[in-house]
């Protein structure tokens, strides 16, 4: 049964894609919008944070790194719960009026949760990559006339493969995540339904064909995104 459901799923996945099923397209679009925006912000926070932790020595650095490592392995559903409490009507952010505060059961709330889930991974992997760059190189870059910012940038460019890997790891942690987006998004059709929550729903309803079709699409899209990042990185991976 399981195998035949998978085969049917593959067939159905193909026909859904070929038919350009509007409900499916909306789910795929939202999946990428939510995870794309979250990945943008987690890179914006995670890459500079990782670079800073990798290059600077300061009091409390070990503590910050321990916190970061904890964040890298934090159960996403717990982050979902925290964001839920933060944004609920009685929560600290939920009480505040303002257009820029994300509301529960909106894509913005999902983006917030996914950013929190993925930025420690981006920061942690970036830090490791930066620490792998020969420390004396920094001094030599400075001697050529670089400012501290220019030096940090040059080191990130040296560590570029690791930085790309950090982004891929961040992406992997959220594109396939279901617990947090289910909690804070609510899996509302046409509004907050993404591929993972749709898979859960269809499985519960016993629509194994559709569920596997969605799973195959998720797998394929995630592979395509990673392959594209590798291509963008060009020949660096072959060195």
């Amino acid at each position: 049964m399981a195998i035949s459901a998978l085969l049917d799923g593959l067939r159905q996945a193909l026909s859904l894609i070929l038919e350009r099923d509007p409900a499916l397209l909306e789910i795929v679009r939202l999946t990428f919008e939510v995870s794309g925006v979250a990945l943008f912000f987690s890179s914006l926070i995670g890459i500079p944070l990782g670079a800073f932790l990798g290059m600077r020595r300061f009091r409390g650095r070990r503590l910050v790194i321990s916190a970061l490592y904890t964040g890298m392995g934090f159960p996403p559903v717990v982050i979902g719960l925290l964001v839920y409490m933060l944004l609920s009507r009685t929560g600290p952010l939920g009480q505040i009026d303002g257009d820029h505060i994300p509301r529960l059961f909106t894509p913005a709330a999902m983006m917030l949760a996914q950013t929190i889930i993925s930025f420690p991974l981006v920061a942690g992997f970036t830090m490791a990559a930066v620490m792998g760059v020969e420390p004396h190189l920094r001094q030599q870059i400075q001697a050529l006339g670089a400012t501290p910012m220019q030096t940090a940038w040059a080191v990130l460019v040296e560590a570029r493969i690791g930085v790309i890997v950090s982004i891929i790891a961040g992406f992997g942690s959220i594109i396939s995540e279901v617990g947090a987006v289910m909690l804070v998004g609510g899996n509302i059709v046409g509004r907050t339904r993404v591929l993972t929550t749709a898979i859960v729903l269809e499985t519960r309803k016993g629509n194994f064909d559709l569920a596997s079709a969605l799973g195959i699409i998720l797998l394929g899209l995630s592979f395509m995104v990673n392959a594209t990042m590798m291509l963008m990185q060009g020949k660096s991976f072959d060195q």
């Binding site: 020969e134 004396h136 190189l137 001094q139 030599q140 870059i141 400075q142 001697a143 050529l144 006339g145 670089a146 400012t147 220019q150 040059a154 460019v157 040296e158 060195q239």
Partner: protein, 243 residues
């Protein structure tokens, strides 16, 4: 006589509590080649890091071009950019040779970057390797690229840290010739660190000896070798010092 480029007074550098450099007084004159000799671990590289403002002295003053840059206070970028170093163990960026040589020029948004990169690379005889990756070079080639990337910047001061250590005689000759050329053509002020007294004798106008972090003596090259005041200088110059 014109104002010295550098003037160091009572400069001390400590790491943790260990004193690794102690210079009571030292001047570097405009346009000269000053060689710093001394056994390994005597503080030569540390001295160059201070002169390039990469580290601040623990105490004392370093005057550059008449201005005081002591143990506190940062050195402005435009001052830092008047000095550069060719390091003992040069590290190149993981980019092409020409990108490595262009790097410092791009930081400065210098005009004619291309022409200057080509000029520097042809001087060190590596124009043919311009597009090759920095990581694929041999030791002698990497050392010459490091010299090219420093010399392309046309800084007032060029600090050279054992620029020919571990090189074959051919490359030693090439690099020494370029050092001489730059000093004559551009009047670049140079501090050349070497543990090789013969090289100091071939290239320098004045020579200073560092022993255990202490600047023992500085003198004109003839005097340094013929009639030094300190017996330790005599021993070192004759190669009698065991280290």
């Amino acid at each position: 006589m014109s104002q010295p480029v550098y003037r160091l007074d009572n400069v001390i550098k400590r790491y943790d509590l260990r004193e690794v450099l102690h210079v009571d007084a030292l001047e570097v004159h405009a346009g000269e080649i000053l060689a710093l000799v001394g056994p390994s671990g005597s503080g030569k590289s540390t001295c160059l890091r201070l002169l390039n403002f990469l580290e601040a002295p623990t105490s004392g003053t370093i005057r550059f071009d008449g201005r005081n840059y002591g143990s506190n206070g940062s050195v402005p970028l435009d001052v830092r950019r008047r000095v550069t170093t060719v390091f003992q163990r040069p590290l190149l960026l993981n980019r092409s040779v020409q990108a490595n040589v262009a790097y410092g020029l791009r930081l400065r948004r210098a005009p004619d970057t291309r022409a200057r990169v080509e000029d520097a690379l042809s001087r060190v005889g590596l124009l043919g390797l311009a597009r090759q990756k920095g990581s694929t070079l041999s030791g002698g080639e990497a050392q010459r690229v490091a010299l090219a990337r420093a010399m392309a910047l046309e800084t007032d001061v060029l600090l050279l840290d054992e620029p020919t250590a571990n090189l074959d005689p051919y490359n030693v000759g090439v690099i020494e010739e370029i050092i001489r050329e730059l000093n004559v053509e551009r009047a670049t002020t140079m501090v050349l660190v070497t543990h090789n007294v013969f090289q100091a004798r071939r290239l320098a106008h004045r020579v200073g000896l560092l022993l255990d972090g202490e600047l023992v003596e500085v003198a004109d090259v003839e005097r340094f070798f013929a009639a030094p005041t300190d017996p330790r200088t005599l021993a070192f110059a004759r190669g009698e010092m065991v280290y």
